[in-house]
Symmetry: C2
Subunit: 337 residues, 2 copies
Amino acid sequence: MTINRQWIFASRPQGMVGPANFEYRETPLNDAPLQTGDVLVRNKTFSLIPAQRTWMNADSAYFPPIPIGAAVSAPATGEVVQSANPRFPVGTRVSGLTRWEDYSLIKADRLTISPLPADIDLLDALSVFGGNALTAYLGLLKIGEPKPGDTVVVSGAAGSTGSMAVQIARIVGCKAIGIAGGPAKCRHAVEDLGFAAAIDYKAEPVAERLAELTGEHGVDVYFDNVGGQILDDVLAHLAFGARVVICGAISQYESSGTWRGPANYWQLLVKRARMEGFLVLDFAKKFPAARAEMLKWLADGSLVPSGEVVDGSLEDFPAVLRRIFDGANIGKLILRI
Amino acid sequence: MTINRQWIFASRPQGMVGPANFEYRETPLNDAPLQTGDVLVRNKTFSLIPAQRTWMNADSAYFPPIPIGAAVSAPATGEVVQSANPRFPVGTRVSGLTRWEDYSLIKADRLTISPLPADIDLLDALSVFGGNALTAYLGLLKIGEPKPGDTVVVSGAAGSTGSMAVQIARIVGCKAIGIAGGPAKCRHAVEDLGFAAAIDYKAEPVAERLAELTGEHGVDVYFDNVGGQILDDVLAHLAFGARVVICGAISQYESSGTWRGPANYWQLLVKRARMEGFLVLDFAKKFPAARAEMLKWLADGSLVPSGEVVDGSLEDFPAVLRRIFDGANIGKLILRI
């Protein structure tokens, strides 16, 4: 009898997410034959991402709320170990959405996984090949519409999406500035990832540094992962005709009350600018071309995957997730079990 | 010797604007010959508009702050009484930006007026032919991009810009809903201006009424003149792919502290929507076509000018302006002297 170790979503967090919201459980794996179309995946690597926090809310708005009593939804890669689906023979390596558990049964009516090309390793699949990189690529290029020479600012710039967005801005010919927390992240951003500049929001006055770095011209494209005060600071330094891409708002996810709205939204009028939200899933048809271009950049060295792989066990999930919200991680945070 | 009666801008309002911010003065009109290109206009009708309040701030962002000690800038119509400019012979009727005074000297290097066609009367010039109507027309159609069948919501809907925006939405085939304050304004909006519905924000819960009126689908285009709570309420009811046009924020103009930002801006992501600001002056090339179409609608009765003409004297300015911010006026507020 095979044991499936699982982290069950036990209660919806009010404010900060923590170990009390999860329950560790060991369940015998059901050994009945799979139903037609179903696939059983042995999970190998998991991505820990800020958006998971929003999926935990009862009113999760663009993603079905994670049900209480179910294992926690997460981006992951793994290998097919049983299959009743000819598209996924046993041994197929897959990436997509599974759950915090050793084995995830993926039902035919909601196939949240796709096969991985042979030349992609399981870690790249969660970094340059994963949802965050696609989010950075498509959000920046399709919504932000940067032109060569534009000044692009990205917040959460040391995170999984942000570190990709700033590099992509650089690659397409923009002056790419990141905002991140702490000297280690900022040094990494400039030295390893090729940012034109990094602003340490924990140590520097963001508004003043933006004014210094972007001058009279201001910010042409702002890719926002954080919301809150930093969004207001950047709105105060927009260029005429600027585009503000709303990708995330990690500074607000753990607020238990009303979110803070950007008081400087009025600058959209002053600067004839727009602020626009998007979800990467709406661009699914563009995924293959986006991946192909990012793989090319990866191969020629212009795009550097930034991340941290924690080799651990399933037991570590709640503690590793916490690192995202404490701002402890640099780049993509991956748990390999 | 001719006396020029003037209202001088005496102090910048902190919060509410009132009589203390202005000083009445009678000044002899300079009878020296005009310099080349200059024009002297005898003002006849004045438009009182919310934006004037923002021009009174030292940090007025998109319009030069009205200088302390100068007569107060205002949209007006009048007649040329002296001219050193061949484009404006004596007797030419003009509309544009002059000042709260009997006679405005318009300098050649900042010709803020233009000649009026012969078939436009001076009141129409400030309503359908004026800046507010152009703002409604161009902001709604060029930024809001309504499609036939869309649900369009306009706040400040009984005001000079709003009453035009809702009617234009109706004319181009949309379900046009207005938000206004008080039963008289709402009745006028539905009975006289042909709104599909009007929400009285002073007596009704806006969020609930929006939910009733727009159902599951939500709001395709929101034309915002007010900001504050109403902006948040509408953001919570956006349709997928919605467009939010930021035109004004009268609820915030008299706030002496930080403006209130829209906490529900996050809905831009959830609904893949955009929020965009604009200034009508950026569309100057489209003014003739916009005016021509509105005059056609005026002639066929589909567009109804909504407004109130106060016959008074120059002495009445501060009190009449106050009516805008007290929500007392219906439609365009015009002072005829």
